[in-house]
């Protein structure tokens, strides 16, 4: 089966706008009446629920920030009483309180629906055997994938993360056809396979559904080659619903957003203005069917762009491009917005360069200078100066074309840039503004 729900996935655009408008109107009523936080925000803007008549009016509504979820910890933004909430998830808070999300029975149903669409994109049917190696627990990955896989009618192996040897043994013995996990874990499995002497030909696996962390086209190629599968990129965040917000189809040319549930916008993260179609900017979502925790114009901090053209697969649902960066740690250099993660993805795409870097921003004679420190390694070292300078030049050119900034590249000795799980310090801003 090619589509899970063709009515919505392939719905003509005008029809989709009508569905979205109707659902948005209901959501706005719901939050206005049930969530004091939203009521106050709307009243401050002089808005009443009746002012929102179509999806075009979305731009008048206030934004929701991650901080709002923290400030209203744990249940303050819920739009349904706890008696109707059947599930609570939370995302790890590295920089503050946990972000708590609640689902009503209907929300779980919606989540299963959008994840069923995802698995169908990966070729799943009732005959499939789906191994869910995302973590089960407060993290939305495991259970989100689990419910979607069950909804399709596949046989689900709820193995969760870790214990890689056993994962591979079961994958072989149980005849897993689809794997769901973080892409870096898929690569780790491929390495472990080599060590165990397990050949991809011995496995029945055909596709993988990978998300929950940034990954590159190079990683995709490697996963596809080493496991002999089709690797599908998926997008989600717990605040919106978890995995299933958007998914690639088998053409792998952008992730189709489940627009009948989540309306995307692209905004300028500084001016907060909605950007023209096709522009790159911050992705903002409004949920229009959620009951437990509906969010209006939620600032994801993820940088992406939207493509409204009909896809080769026949779906009309808008496609978002792979997230190219985060707006959290944005730097403004010579008036250009620069995201450390954009620099990271440039480096990740270059095979010879290690993904460890440091950004030094300084101001000399009133001009901002960006210096990118990159670690020298065995792959790019040569006894000839010109060969090393070629690599430096390549990094500089790639950075220039990706972020439009002429950065200075400085090669430093290996292992001299701080390593850290999670939030390493990547930026030193020495600018003193006088």
């Amino acid at each position: 089966m090619q589509y899970w729900n063709p009515t919505f996935e392939c719905m003509p655009r005008e029809e989709m706008a009508r569905v979205q408008s109707e659902r948005l109107i209901n959501t706005v009523k719901r939050i206005y009446h049930n969530v004091p936080f939203y009521r106050e925000k709307m009243q401050k803007k002089g808005l009443e629920p009746g002012d929102i008549k179509t999806v075009e009016d979305l731009k008048y509504l206030p934004f929701t920030y991650k901080q709002d979820l923290r400030d209203n910890y744990p249940y303050g933004l819920f739009a349904a009483p706890l008696s109707e909430i059947v599930r609570i998830h939370a995302s790890s808070g590295t920089t503050g309180k946990q972000t708590v999300v609640g689902y009503t029975r209907k929300d779980i149903d919606t989540w299963s629906e959008v994840m069923a669409r995802t698995f169908t994109c990966a070729g799943a049917t009732k005959e499939s055997i789906i191994q869910v190696a995302y973590g089960y627990g407060l993290f939305t990955g495991g259970l989100g994938a689990h419910y979607g896989a069950e909804r399709v009618g596949a046989s689900v192996i709820p193995i969760s993360g870790g214990n890689t040897k056993r994962q591979l043994q079961l994958m072989k013995d149980f005849g897993t056809t689809i794997l769901a996990c973080a892409p870096s874990y898929a690569l780790f499995m491929a390495e472990e396979m080599e060590e165990m002497g397990l050949k991809k030909e011995e496995l029945k696996i055909k596709a993988g559904v990978f998300g929950a962390e940034p990954w590159t086209e190079n990683m995709r190629k490697e996963i596809q080659d080493r496991l002999g599968i089709m690797a599908i990129d998926i997008y989600g965040l717990s605040e919106i619903i978890g995995p299933g917000v958007a998914t690639e189809c088998q053409h792998r040319c952008g992730m189709h957003i489940a627009e009948d549930h989540f309306i995307p916008e692209i905004i300028d993260p500084v001016t907060e203005e909605v950007l023209p179609l096709g522009s790159e900017g911050e992705l903002v979502f409004t949920t229009v069917t959620k009951e437990g925790l509906p969010l209006i114009r939620y600032r994801t901090r993820d940088i992406s762009k939207l493509n409204y053209e009909k896809c080769e697969c026949g779906r009309t649902a808008v496609r978002m491009s792979k997230v190219s960066g985060r707006t959290d740690d944005m730097l403004i250099i010579r008036g250009v917005n620069v995201f450390p993660s954009q620099i990271e993805s440039v480096l990740l795409e270059m095979a010879e360069v290690a993904p460890h870097y440091m950004l030094i921003v300084d101001r000399v004679d009133n001009l901002d200078l960006l210096e990118v420190w990159v670690e020298m390694n065995q792959n790019m070292f040569s006894d000839e100066v010109k060969k090393i300078e070629q690599v430096e030049r390549k990094i500089r050119t790639e950075l220039d074309s990706a972020i439009g900034i002429n950065a200075k590249v400085k090669l430093v000795e290996p292992k001299t840039i701080e390593r850290s799980e999670g939030k390493a310090k990547r930026v030193i801003d020495k600018r003193v503004l006088k």
């Binding site: 020298m376 390694n377 065995q378 070292f381 040569s382 006894d383 000839e384 100066v385 090393i388 300078e389 400085k410 090669l411 430093v412 000795e413 290996p414 292992k415 001299t416």
Partner: protein, 143 residues
């Protein structure tokens, strides 16, 4: 005839060169020739030592970025025009020199030169056919 040269990446900050020589000294490795190519940001230290494999290993163990390259060592007459004799034949035979440096030799009437060329085997043939002495690795490592 090929000599194994060890190259080390040096970030342009104080103490790095000293650190390399310290590691080599502690491991009883004798340096017989060296040169540094430097840019504003980094340098490449090129070394001829008595035990290149060991040098490569101990430097890598100490987190240095190291590579080994084949070079040739040539003995030329220590008098005006001596070096030209060697370089001239290479030039006449279209063999490009990436870089070269002189050797702290211990013989009196000869000057020793390390050459990094694009095609070492071809260069060795040209030099020996023209009566220029190319030193064996055994001999060079013992200097």
């Amino acid at each position: 005839m090929l000599i194994k040269q060890i190259s080390v990446f040096l970030e342009n900050k104080s103490g790095r060169l000293a650190e390399v020589t310290k590691v080599l000294g502690q491991n009883n490795i004798d340096i017989s020739a060296l040169s540094i190519a430097d840019t504003t940001d980094f340098g490449i230290l090129r070394l001829i030592v008595n035990n290149p494999d060991m040098a490569e290993k101990v430097l890598k163990d100490n987190q240095f970025t190291v590579s080994s390259t084949n070079v040739i060592a040539v003995g030329v007459e220590d008098k005006p025009g001596g070096l030209y004799k060697a370089l001239g034949v290479l030039e006449n035979n279209d063999t490009g020199i990436e870089y070269m440096y002189a050797f702290v030799g211990k013989t009196s009437d000869e000057a020793l030169v390390i050459l990094r060329v694009d095609d070492s085997d071809k260069a060795i043939d040209i030099l020996t056919n023209n009566g220029i002495e190319v030193l064996s690795s055994d001999k060079v490592y013992k200097l």
